[in-house]
Each structure stands twice: as structure tokens, then as C-alpha cells.
Subunit: 298 residues, 4 copies
């Protein structure tokens, strides 16, 4: 009953990188976290501890910083592609690389209605926007294939009306009442697969985000699944560079508080926002001619 | 060697409340977390478990929800004052109340460049802004005193230049080199005490925030302490309703990465953003004629 | 370019359940978090919002609580199997169920050297042990297949010597020095697949845990991959009910502090425990005749 | 209306230190997080950015590591006292120091029933116990006073019976029903002030912990306040080196699930463990002749 090594990978997770570009007195910043994962001829290191095939995770981290200096960090997908290809192409023992990047957004600090004399200094002052996190996951394989999945996480949205839930299965454990008007709130995690590694990532991100928000807001929702599908569908109908969308949307329950013990009605105005448990809806929307995903989602 | 009961309080922490106001088809939301803490004639409950003087924490929670329906939630300070006074004035055994509220900001989902037919539905669709959290802490005592401290937390800001650090003490454990140009980043927690319980809280919050951001951006910083003081000073010089400002500002270190092993320079462009340890600067700025704070900060 | 629905599932995540068994005056507690996820005939709910095939997530939660009363919660795998089979067998529209459970351990509060008269009350007094979390993920499909993966997470272990790292690739971005003696620390996440749904789960858990700890402690480590493989191998060589082990082990770096500026040596005694970045090693060890996993790991 | 500088302090927070003691082949580890905060002649640095009085936080961190090498880390209180005194005594501009330390516990990995040949290696293999965190906060002032507060946090305990709650105030917002049997669960944060800086800290910690657990387990509780008082009182009645105990205990609500819709009773066996909101009980128990605390709790 011999034991064998199965799929494996190793890398450096969560390298924190802030890249400043100094355009004269005007600065730009890029604030990202990079995680790399490599695989290849790794039998020896597992079986005997022979590290001859291992590019240390410390070196992977160094490479992230050196590439940030040499190539800059434009769109995170471009930077991830550079890194993934570098590891596979420069090391014969590395056959496959995955690079994941998270990006945090910053805004310039506004000069205000009555700018002070130092107002020009705002050119290098920033406040973190705290909106959603932008993400990507890039794979490059030694067969030459590069896959790119872009995404976002923690985009928290809420419709205060325009959402129903009724007509569901009733079994012996069902106590939920149907409702024609509820709060629908979720924290969207979306990932979308690009048809090729040459998408216009900057524009694409902004437009996909706009599709997701628009479809969430404009769909009169009979179920969160319906809203999820509408969001993915709008992305695919709008952005031809995208062939598949995966969404995970927790149903962040907002329960109307029963105020009748206090002689008060509650016409959907006062809610308890619950932490746990929560519904969790996961779904995929794709073109029927989407090419095989291979390792894109791994 | 008798043992006695010292200071104590009890209450309901982190009651999550979302209040929707339906102004015709246009909705407004207020998303807050309320924590109440009461004290008074509590010897018996500690010594014998006699609960006759105890207003249950469950009732405190119910009161939060009922008041949200009856009075609405305008500015969080106003809502906290209402609650704090209610507990003290309605229960003889409760001599003192503290009410703390956190508020999370939401923006309307924009209709976009090309609004769809359903665009009017955006009137009830929101996306969480993720910017800083607004806070307040209100005390009311049965002697009639109400104190109000407003605040914010997790306002993350960064200057990519305009910050130095030199001229410090050198002892046998000092290895830090002086620098004339560094990244200065922090997550501001600020609290400011009002002269009275009748401040214009909405305007005050916006303006204090503007002062904090402006002073952070415009101060050429020789030390984080200097920046902290400038921020508090600007608030006090601008807002007459505020008599004291307390600030806590972690120095979120951004270390330039040494790229010389790779034949690269690093003219303050590539940084490692460290998690721990971090500097922590705490300070108070106040008017020299500020009235006694009493329990305001407790 | 039609758009279609791909893989999807929905359920109730993180239902918190504490089950007390009262065995006369002696109580036993089981503290778990249950997450259910169902899939099946879900086209309509996504495409039109028709919920006729949907068993509400609220009902799933109710079922967890009702089953806890009716059947008790013995081993978490057994409870998950009961639930997964129930959903698929009771609802024609539900074709597949996944049930994940986390369990938190509690110890009895010890009576101490000098037990007080009330010492017998310790029979219902517990202190959370805070050791690792036990996990399981069970799938049941309407074709009759049940798969069971057991696991643990956050088992934090450290060897203060007996670990080396050298002989690795040197490229232009490598600055790491080889070491013959380092601290090796990790937080083990392990999952192991059972050959059948009828394993002796209680004994199995204890023994697998013992194998993991033993192999970690006894392996003189030339690389974390080698340690990982040894841990999986020992489980498979010891426990015949297990056919595959998957491990994820962050390399929680402990860097020796350079004390030479202070005239001190550091013979591997003083370490800085870093948060990020960290190495991350993931690997699979399995029997070469392990049956196909199908959906077991999804 | 001049503006002035009020109380302030600065330091290095969360320096992570792991100290290994190599006693032949038997190793011992101490895993701590150290936070230092200094104050003194800090007007200039706030008003003009002149750092001449500032011992950099980086130096404070270095001192932690150097002292760990030179003096070892025995009990955390002893190490904190050493550091606090050093800062005040070595720097004329530093008039006061606070040093806070958290300690995380590790156990040796047991050799098991059938120890392998490498079993002696267990002498340097550890598993994190995950039980409570031990804490201390030490102040030293240039007037020569040293205060020591020891503590623990996140000691999670639960009584599955022996707890009641009734006889409380009923007002118009009260809906809670009295109960004669409930689950009482909390995460204890306790801090205790020593009469002098020369307590036997190791023994003291173990015995205080035993008192807290014992009183929690043995008190038939009519209210969480009563339990809190009993815990503090037992410490003071048992440990003469302690003069004051402060406790903060969240009431981690465990609500019995209403199973009647499913035709099931629930004799306090199936509970929903809620996250938020939670009751929060804070109280102080002290000797009536306890000396003034001065800055001990700041």
C-alpha cells in the first residue's frame, strides 16, 4: 500500500508592497499584497529534503520588490503576469506559477473649500478609501498558457426595498414566513475570467464593477440567486473580454425588530443586522462557448 | 482585611441597528452599533445576586430599538443623549449612563453614465463607503450633567513625502539612521470633547474631519508628535464648540526595501509596509480654559 | 453568445450550536459551528426568481437545531452525514449536499488540590481549551455516494531546533543564507479523506492528531516540505481508514535578532516572530490505490 | 483662547519576542508581545518637532531584544520591571514608562503511548496551548514608584447549569422572562494589582487563575455580577500580595432554541450561541485599605 506525493505548491504569501511613483511633485501610490505559489519538480524536497529544485520563498519576495522597482506596478494583472512568467521561464524546476494580488484603494486628500497656502502639498497626501479590495489570480504554465482571473471582494451593498422571498419549499422544519418587502444586503466577492491575457485591465475593472453595482441596484429581487445571476449576466453581456463570472454573496440578514410589545409598529424601518448564521449563495455564470478554464480557478 | 466593591458598570454591548427612513421613494439609512453601560445602586446585585435594582441588558437593547422607531436616529450624539438621559431619569437605581455609538457610512450607488430605465430605483440602493468609522461617547449623570465626546477611528492616511525624523537621542541600543524623507502613514483615532451637549454635531463632524485631514496633509513633519499636535490644534482653532482633542496615531512603518543586492537603487519608491511592531503616539491637545472633563473620557 | 448558469450552491453558513447532554448531574457539551450547502434543480431560481425548488436557508438552520435535539451530536462526522443525507433524501429538488462542521474543545474546570464543598459542581463547569479546531466536510449525492473528509486547523507547533534549510537555488534575487539550525513553526491545517463513511471517527481523530504531532516533532527537517510529507505519510502508514491527506502549513518565520550592534551574540536564543509575509507550503500525500475523490474536496 | 499640550505618551507597540533557553538538549520557550510607552519632557517634540528628548521607538524595540538576551525572560512582570526602570533611569528626558506584556502558553508535544526512537527530540517540540493569554502592565515613575498589574484575558468559561436570572426591574421595554436555569458563559478579562513590585509572580499567577476558575465554577449564580464579585473576592481572600482586582466579563448569551414548531421539547439541551449584542459586566473588588492606585491602571 505505497504512499505517494500528490498535488503540491509552495510560495511566499502576503508580501506587502507599497509603490510610490514620483511624477514631479505629484505622487501616485499603489498599495498591494502579493502572494506567489510555485510547483514543479518537487518530489525530492518532499521525500528527502533535498532543496536543489527549490527557489526559496524569500527569493520570491525579493523578486516582487525588485520587479516593482524595475517594471513599476501598473495594473495588478500585468504585474502578476510578469512575475508568474519570470518564475517559470527562469527556473527549469518550476513548471507552474500562480500569483495572487490584492489592491487597496486610496484617494487624494481633498484641498477643501478654502485651500490653505500649503494646498499644493496635497499632491502627496492620501486617505485610504476603504471601498472594496481589488484582486487578481494569474497562472502561468510551462506549456505557455497564461490564465487571468480578476476580481473584487468585500463590496458591501444594500437595497432597502425591492426584494421579496416567497414560494419556497415548506417542510416540517420550515418556520420562515414569505415576505414581499425585505432588506437585501450582501458583501460581494466576484471573480471573472478573461478570454486572454491581454485584456484592458484598468477599464475592465471599472466597467465590471459598474455592471455589478448596476445589476444589483436595478434587479427587483425575488431571490438572492436571481440577483446573483443578473449581476453575472450583465457583466458578460457588457464586457466581451470576460467569459466566466463566479460570485459568492452572503445574505447579510437584516431582521425587522418586533416592536409590538412596546405598542409600536415597524413598517420596515428598524432592523437588527445579524452576524451569524448567514445565507451564502455561490454561483457561476458563463458563456456557453467559454474555453476550458484549466487551472485558472485553482 | 475586608473586601469591598469598587467602581462597576454593566450594559448591553454592540447592539446592531440599521434604521431606514422612507422619504417617499427615496430612502435614507443609518447603520450604527450601540453600546450602553449603566451604574448606580449595584451593591446588592454584586453581594447577594439580588437583581431588584437591575434593568436587564436585554431591556437596554429593546430600548435602543424602540427609541429608533419613536425618535429616529439623526446624529449619533443626539440619539446617545436621548438614551443616556432616559435610563437615568426613568430608573431611580440607575445613577449614571454611558452610551457609545459607532456609525458606518454608506453612499448611494451611482446611476452611471448611461442610466437604465430602472435608474430611479437607485433611490434605495447603497454601497458601504468603507471610509472611517464615526464614534461618540455620551455620559449622563443624575446630577444633571451630560458630557459628549465625538470621534472617528480608522481614518487611514499617508504622506508619501514631507516627513523627516532626525536629531533624536542616541543610546547604546540605537541603530536607527536619521532620515530627511520618509513615508508617514497612520490610522487616526481621534476623539474630541464638546463644551456643551448642544453642538451642531453634523456640521461639527464634517469640519473636524476636514481639519484633521488638512493638518495632516499640510504639516511638514519632523516627528509624528508634531503632526498630531498640529491636527489637534487646528481643530481647536477652527471649532469653538470643541474644548479638547485626544489622538492616538500608530506609526504604520513603511520601510524602503534595500534593493542594492539586485543592482538597483531605491529612491523612496518601493516600500515594505510592516504590520508589527509599530510606533504608537498618543496625545491630548486642549484649551487652557477647558472645563473639567469629569467622567467624559471614561 | 448565450450566457448560461454554471455550478452553484446555496446554504446556511455558520450556524452556532451548543449541545448539552445531562447525564444526571454530570454534563457534557459539544460546541460546534455548522455550515450547509445544497445544490440541485436551481435553474429557475437563478433565471426567474421562482423559489419552488428552494429549501430556505432558514429551514436548513432549523434542521440543524432539531436534529441536535432528536439525534444528539456524537462525532461531528456522524452528525454531518445525518444532515447531508436528510436534505438530499427528503427533497427531490436537492441533488447534493455538503455539510461542514467545526468543533471547539472544552475541558472540565479542575477541582484543584483542595476541592471546596461545591466541588461536585465542577461536573457542569468548563473552560475552553483553545487548542486546535476539529473540522469535517461531508458530501452526499443523490447517486448514493457519501464522502467524508475529517480535519483540524490552527494546530500551532514549533521545533526550537532540529531544522535546517540549505542547498536551494541561488538566482540573482537570492539573498537568503543557508542555515543549519533554525526555529520551525507552523499552524497546521490538515484534512484527511476516509475510505468509507463508516470510520471510527473519534478514535481516528485522536490517532491522526497524534501522528501529525509525532511526525512533526521527530522529523529532523531539511525543509518544511519534508516535514509535511512525513506527517502525511505517518497518518497513512498508521491509519488504514484514511486514503489521502492534504496539508497546508505556513512557515511562521522566527528570525534571530542581530544583536551585534549591542555587543551581544545570539546563539539562536532571541527571535523576532514575524507576521507577514510568510512561506506557505501545501501538499497532498495519498495511497497510490486511493479511490477517486470525486467531490470530496469541493 | 490658547491651546496647550495635555497628557501624552509614545512608544513601540507589539514587539514580538520568542526567547529560547537551551538547557542542554532540553529547550524552554517564552513567547511574548511587548509594548512600551514613555512620557516626559515632550513639549518640544509636539510643538516644534525637535526630537532631542525622544528615545526612538525603534530603540525601545532594540532594547527589548537586547534585554531578552542579557537578562532572559523569567516572569513577564520581572522583565517588564527591568525595562520600565531602564528607560526612566537611563534617560533624563523620560520621566515615566509603562511596559505591557502578553504571554502565550505552549505545551511540550507529548511522546505518546508508544514513543518512537526519536522521542527524546520532544525536548524541543512544542504545541501552542491556546488557553488564556497572560498579561501584565508595569509603570515606573522617576519618583521611584513601580506599580505592577498582572492579568489574563480570553479565559473562556461556561457553566451549563447553576445559573439563574430573575427579580429584575420590569419597565415598558422589558420582554425578558425570568429564568431559573440558564447557561452562563463568559470570556474573563481579569487584572489584579500587586501591593508591591516584589510579588512571587509565577506562583501568584497560577493561584489567582485557580481562584478565578474555582469561584466561577462553585458560585450558584443569581447574576453575572454576583459571580464576578465572588471571583474577585476569592482572589483577595486567598492571595495577600493582591490588593485590587478588576474584571470585565461579557455575558456570552446561549439562547435555548424554541423547538416546539417541530414537535420537540428543549430541556436546556440545544442552544444558539449568539455573537452580538452581548451583556458586558465590569467591576472592581478591592481591599478597603488598598493603597492609592496612582497610575497603575492607566
Amino acid at each position: 500500500m505505497p504512499v505517494v506525493l500528490g498535488p503540491n505548491r509552495y510560495g511566499k504569501a502576503e508580501t506587502r508592497l507599497v509603490r510610490v511613483v514620483r511624477d514631479g511633485g505629484v505622487h501616485h501610490i499603489k498599495d498591494v499584497t502579493v502572494s506567489t505559489a510555485l510547483s514543479g519538480q518537487m518530489d525530492d524536497v518532499h521525500l528527502t529534503g533535498d532543496n536543489a529544485a527549490v527557489l526559496p520563498t524569500d527569493t520570491q519576495k525579493n523578486t516582487v520588490y525588485a520587479f516593482a522597482r524595475k517594471h513599476g506596478v501598473a495594473e495588478i494583472e500585468d504585474f502578476a503576469i510578469l512575475l508568474a512568467r519570470h518564475f517559470v521561464e527562469s527556473q527549469p524546476t518550476i513548471h507552474h506559477a500562480r500569483v495572487e494580488i490584492e489592491e487597496y484603494f486610496w484617494d487624494r486628500i481633498p484641498a477643501g473649500a478654502d485651500p490653505a497656502p500649503g494646498a499644493e502639498e496635497r499632491q502627496h497626501s492620501f486617505v485610504r478609501s476603504g471601498r472594496e479590495v481589488r484582486t487578481c489570480a494569474v497562472h502561468h504554465d510551462r506549456d505557455g498558457t497564461t490564465t487571468v482571473v480578476s476580481g473584487l471582494t468585500d463590496l458591501v451593498v444594500l437595497n432597502s426595498t425591492g426584494s421579496e422571498f416567497s414560494g419556497f419549499i415548506q417542510d416540517e422544519y420550515t418556520t420562515l414566513r414569505p415576505t414581499k418587502d425585505r432588506v437585501l444586503a450582501t458583501a460581494v466577492t466576484a471573480r471573472w475570467r478573461h478570454l486572454s491575457a491581454a485584456s484592458p485591465y484598468r477599464e475592465s475593472y471599472g466597467e465590471v464593477r459598474r455592471c455589478l453595482l448596476g445589476a444589483f441596484a436595478e434587479t427587483h429581487s425575488l431571490s438572492l440567486q436571481q440577483t446573483l445571476y443578473a449581476m453575472g449576466e450583465r457583466v458578460l453581456n457588457t464586457r466581451e473580454e470576460v467569459c466566466e463570472v463566479r460570485l459568492a454573496m452572503p445574505n447579510k440578514h437584516h431582521f425587522p425588530v418586533d416592536l409590538t410589545p412596546f405598542g409600536l409598529d415597524n413598517p420596515n424601518e428598524v432592523f437588527y443586522a445579524a452576524d451569524r448564521p448567514y445565507g451564502l449563495i455561490e454561483g457561476t455564470v458563463l458563456r456557453d462557448d467559454a474555453p476550458a478554464a484549466r487551472f485558472a480557478w485553482e
